[in-house]
């Protein structure tokens, strides 16, 4: 039997993923480019303080607390470098838990399914309280999802120097998604990028990654930089960047988009 807390995590992950999908649909329809779901100038002008929610992981990640901590620390560091004030996820969790308790729980203890009305109510009032108590302007969701990374790999995949059709390759792994919502819950920025591969089937070969998921901070760091790349570019082009707190990365520095160099698997590249 699957423990209830895993089910709850899974449902929360699904709910956030749905939100991401809806958000991206809106972006496409609204004709807004890159990762922004609203005009980027609006976001940059409006958001100074971001309250992070606790990173959502798929079930079965080894040492999930460590992975969450690493993810949050890296995202926090990156956001502070961009000049944002960041409120750690414990504040969000505290308010969320209190609201969820007042609502008599959001998830069905047997099925693990969320009551959508309660979920929305909890999200709404958590946002309001984060604004009132901590001066937050937006909530940042960090979500790790498992999937077939080859799905987003384009028309050709190169496997150890050989071209493989995407339908002949399966690259299992994880995506990292970052979603920024304003306090009423409207999505403002949403990105999902490859985090790391874990298992590859291609050309009758099979390769398993030796390391457990989310074990290598440098891999997570690269992915975090990728999901925050567009946000960083917008911030740098709109205002002088002064790192928040004690982070002193040089203001206005331009970097290459790490996504351009990202590899989806061992000896594998996609285009």
């Amino acid at each position: 039997m699957i423990p209830a807390f895993i089910l709850r995590r899974a449902v929360k992950s699904l709910a956030l993923a749905t939100l991401m999908t809806a958000a991206v649909s809106s972006r496409v329809e609204a004709g807004i480019d890159d990762s922004f779901l609203v005009p980027k100038e609006q976001l940059v002008a409006q958001v100074r303080t971001i309250a992070l929610s606790s990173p959502v992981l798929p079930p079965g990640v080894p040492d999930p607390e460590r992975a969450r901590r690493t993810l949050e620390e890296l995202v926090t560091s990156e956001l502070r470098t961009l000049g944002f004030r960041v409120i750690d996820s414990s504040r969000h969790a505290q308010i969320w838990r209190a609201n969820a308790e007042r609502l008599g729980g959001i998830f069905d203890s047997v099925t693990g399914e969320a009551d959508q009305t309660k979920l929305q109510t909890c999200r709404d009032y958590t946002g309001r309280e984060l604004g009132r108590l901590h001066g937050a302007d937006a909530v940042g969701d960090i979500i790790v999802q498992r999937g077939n990374l080859a799905e987003g790999s384009g028309e050709q995949v190169s496997w150890r120097g050989t071209t493989v059709r995407p339908d002949q390759v399966s690259i299992r792994g994880t995506w990292l998604a970052f979603l920024l919502r304003d306090l009423p819950g409207n999505p403002m920025y949403g990105v999902r990028r490859t985090l790391e591969w874990t298992e590859v089937h291609a050309s009758q070969s099979h390769e398993l990654r030796a390391e457990p998921e989310l074990a290598r901070p440098s891999t997570i760091q690269a992915s975090v930089e990728t999901v925050l790349f567009d946000l960083g570019r917008a911030v740098r082009s709109s205002r002088p960047v002064t790192a928040a707190d004690d982070n002193d990365e040089a203001a206005g520095s331009e970097r290459e988009n790490p996504a351009a160099a990202a590899q989806t698997g061992p000896g594998m590249s996609a285009r």
Partner: protein, 394 residues
Amino acid sequence: MSILGIRQPRVLSLLLLAVVAAGCGGASVRRFEGKPVAVARDEKLLWQEAAQLEKAFADSKLLIRDDAVDGYLNAVTARVLDAYGVEDASIRVYVLRNPFVNAFVLPNGSVYLHTGLLALLENEAQLAGVLAHELEHYLGRHSLRRERSREQRETLLLLGGLFVTIMGGPGEAMLVSSAPAIESSVRGYSRDLEREADAAAYRAMIAAGYDGGQLARTFELLMSVEREAGVEEPFYYSNHPLTAERLKDSLAWQTAAPGDVSAPRRSERDDGYGSGVASVLLVNAAEDVRLRRFDRASEAVERYLRLRPDDARAHFTFGELLRHKAGGSGTDLDRMAVAYKRATELSPAMPEAHRELGLAYRAIGRAAESRASLRRYLELSPTAADRSIIESYL
């Protein structure tokens, strides 16, 4: 799978309809003159499919049903038809909840106006011009001519796919004119028939006693929207010539045939247009808030409030506009509270206004007033989903 990636088995059966929405070009086809005409098989098919699409719109949440607005639009339509010398009871005019500026007509005579277009127009003469243009497409059977020309099928396919999205998906409210497919169709259609429809619209406006100069003003408004959206091509009347070209044409007609300048004109600000479509302004403002077009939403709410200053829903909408614009941050809390307060005064039984007022007071730090408003909210809405949270604030 539709072209836009949305599963929809009826796509193909509806594609021709899109054609329909604007068709131009094609072989010689007799114009409707208000009398029955022989309808060939291909036109019957168009009409059947138009009826299907009309039903799909009717069943969707997109159609705005408001007797006052419908009555007003039908009255203006009747005046325009009269100018065309046509009595055609089969014309139906609908309003679609869509903040993008557009209008179209199906081959069966159902005309659709987006809320975004109605919110943009300034007076009845401009509305009459838009209706006259669409009616010319219908009366001239442009869809049939377009279909018979069988040109640029791919454009139609794209357009058809687009209509499918209207009927189902989560993004239905964005609709037609925002899509690249529509933009790509701009160059794909004959400009001649569009110009013909514009010219006919101008003549009909004059004949109906409207100020023909308002046609040019309409194009100026469209150009301002295009500039704001940063597009170089018009997305209004997707298949039309460039708006600047249309503006130039309409100014030329105005010079050549100004009409009876001494005749009374229905182009004044108080010509009844504002009150005729007032409720649409509020609906569209909410859509603009959703798109974060706060300035435009604010203009619409203010315009509405000038017409109906004592409308509680409008004051509440203004408060919500400020709340969403601030993104939940502390900006504009005082103005928000004023708007919500006014809404509660005008409609004391509007629970959501009391709730938002109470929460705004809470954020400002006016604890006693906050509690009073939140208590009132719970009295009015005893089974509210957020009851337990609100109670914890008391």
